[in-house]
């Protein structure tokens, strides 16, 4: 067996979408087009293969069905390789593999991002709390060694994070138990985790913040968005009340939307969602992100966010109808 030179007449097909085959091709001369449906837009795409270029690589190497139909547009000559033949060829020429690795890693990066955009908050655990909880898991299973790793990494990435104090305490404890009892032999440590407790002690200060906050909200009501924005910013900068901090971070995103600063609005809400994955106004935040994309003319992203929200709200919620309306306006626009 060796690579085979094959000639194709114009208008013939080298392979069809859905075919399963281990053949990889290189175009020697002629004109070949790969036709496929773009998964994001649903559009029919045509991609011309350049002379000397490989095609059919991914599906052959990954052993999955062809994702495109290879159509011969003008009489062409190709060389067909089996996977082992292809491997032999490229092993002697690492530059080819490097080039492909680059192309593939870019594709992977792109599709990964597209998937993440669709998933957004609901599916994703906040990495900060996620990492801390891994430490907690090992701590409760007396696997102090692993717990130490997780807590220490936590402190590396989030030295002033919401679980930093707790992590520091647990590290001391884990070290102590590891010495005293040894891995797997000491007590199981569970709980003591409080997530971002609302500090009630500064009653006076809090009422001040509350007042500041409601003033700013009423500025939005009066459509004085710039002023409102500045007020919320002040509250955030003071940063001494967790509850109003979270609320203000949400309102500031709304202000940005009304000020037509859509990119900033998206950025602001994205940060909010990452910081507070269980924020009470999370769905509304997603709605504003969707609307900002719509305003920017990125209907695909807007649609992604709207659909995302629909999967989170029940039909009775007012937001459901709002989103439905927005989706309708997308179609009409």
């Amino acid at each position: 067996m060796s690579p085979k030179a094959i000639r194709y007449r114009a208008n013939s097909i080298i392979y069809f979408k859905g075919d399963v085959s281990d053949k990889i091709y290189i175009l020697n001369s002629g004109k070949v087009s790969l036709n496929y449906t773009d998964i994001e837009t649903g559009q029919e795409m045509h991609e011309l293969i350049k002379t000397g270029e490989f095609f059919g690589v991914k599906s052959a190497l990954g052993r999955y069905p062809r994702e495109e139909t290879a159509v011969v547009l003008a009489d062409s000559a190709v060389i067909a390789f089996s996977v082992p033949e292809f491997e032999m060829l490229v092993s002697k020429n690492t530059r080819i593999i490097m080039k492909m690795l680059k192309v593939f890693s870019n594709q992977l990066r792109r599709i990964h991002k597209q998937v993440q955009n669709l998933l957004y908050s609901e599916e994703q655990v906040n990495p900060e709390t996620g990492l801390f909880k891994i430490g907690e898991y090992y701590m409760s299973n007396k696997r102090y060694h692993q717990a130490l790793y997780a807590y220490r990494r936590y402190l590396v990435y989030y030295p002033t994070g919401i679980h930093a104090q707790e992590a520091t305490k647990k590290i001391e404890l884990a070290e102590e138990y590891l010495q005293k009892y040894g891995q797997g032999k000491g007590p199981s440590v569970k709980g003591m985790v409080k997530e971002a407790p609302v500090q009630k002690k500064k009653t006076k200060e809090m009422s001040n913040v509350a007042q500041q906050y409601y003033n700013a909200v009423s500025l939005i009501g009066q459509q004085k968005y710039e002023q409102a924005y500045n007020e919320f910013k002040k509250i955030i900068e003071q940063g001494n009340d967790e509850e109003y901090l979270a609320k203000s971070r949400y309102e500031i995103g709304r202000c940005l939307f009304f000020m037509n600063r859509f990119d900033d609005c998206i950025k602001s809400f994205t940060e909010l969602i990452q910081r507070y994955p269980t924020h009470p106004d999370l769905k509304e935040a997603l709605f504003f992100v969707g609307k900002s994309y719509q305003e920017k003319g990125d209907t695909t992203k807007a649609k992604g966010f709207y659909n995302k929200i629909l999967s989170m709200v029940s039909e009775e919620e007012p937001l459901y109808r709002k989103v439905k309306r927005a989706l309708k306006s997308l179609k009409e626009g």
Partner: protein
């Protein structure tokens, strides 16, 4: 494989048995090629630990680190003393150039990842949440082709896993599954879910996908 030995001097790392190599949710900078020893890939879900894979010498893991800003999606622990080559975005080109076999391995891994992510994207773009859950079953069926000529498929997949693939909360996913069960399209057991007619799901999903277009 002399090249690998000299590379180990420069890029080799050793982990003791039980060491965490990286933790889920950590930002990922490095990826690894196992030289010796086994590595367990796992996820912690609440109070349970779920093994996703056990990797052998010659296998690559953590390769998603090649993507920017992707936190680790699972935890890797050394099951034995593990010797591995450590790669990162900066050094991997140099490493690959002298080692076509490793580069090829990575190339194959990327093709698989791209396919998986594309498939996931297809699922997530379905508007109808029932169709999304049905499409998860189709994807699972594609991954483990069955020789027998029957439409019935058995999946030992948990509701949480299906919810994860379908991009919805486990509660919502359970609702959809219960609805399918009420329609007698599936049967839910504690350790498995039986899809009575996978072709029925295929038709259902493709009709919903067409509507979208």
């Amino acid at each position: 494989m002399n090249g690998i030995n000299s590379m180990f001097d420069r890029f080799g790392v050793t982990f003791q048995r039980g060491d965490i190599i990286f933790c889920e949710f950590e930002p990922g900078d490095n990826f690894y090629l196992i030289q010796s020893g086994r590595v367990q890939i796992l996820k912690i879900m609440g109070d349970i630990e779920k093994t996703i894979d056990i990797l052998q010498p010659g296998e690559i893991f953590g390769e998603m680190a090649i993507l920017e800003e992707a936190p680790r999606s699972a935890t890797a622990i050394a099951l034995d003393e593990v010797k591995a080559l450590e790669f990162n975005r900066e050094n991997f080109e140099i490493l690959m150039q002298g080692n076509p076999q490793i580069a090829l391995k990575l190339l194959k891994l990327f093709t698989k990842r791209i396919y998986d992510q594309k498939r996931r994207f297809m699922i997530l773009t379905l508007e109808d949440i029932e169709a999304r859950v049905a499409d998860v079953f189709l994807m699972l069926a594609e991954k483990s082709p069955q020789e027998e000529e029957t439409n019935k498929r058995v999946f030992s997949t948990t509701v949480d896993d299906i919810a994860h693939w379908a991009g919805m909360s486990p509660a919502k996913c359970r609702e959809v599954l219960n609805h399918f069960a009420a329609q007698r399209r599936i049967e839910i057991y504690s350790d498995r879910i039986v899809v009575k007619n996978i072709n029925d799901f295929a038709r259902f999903v493709s009709s919903r996908r067409k509507q979208r277009e």
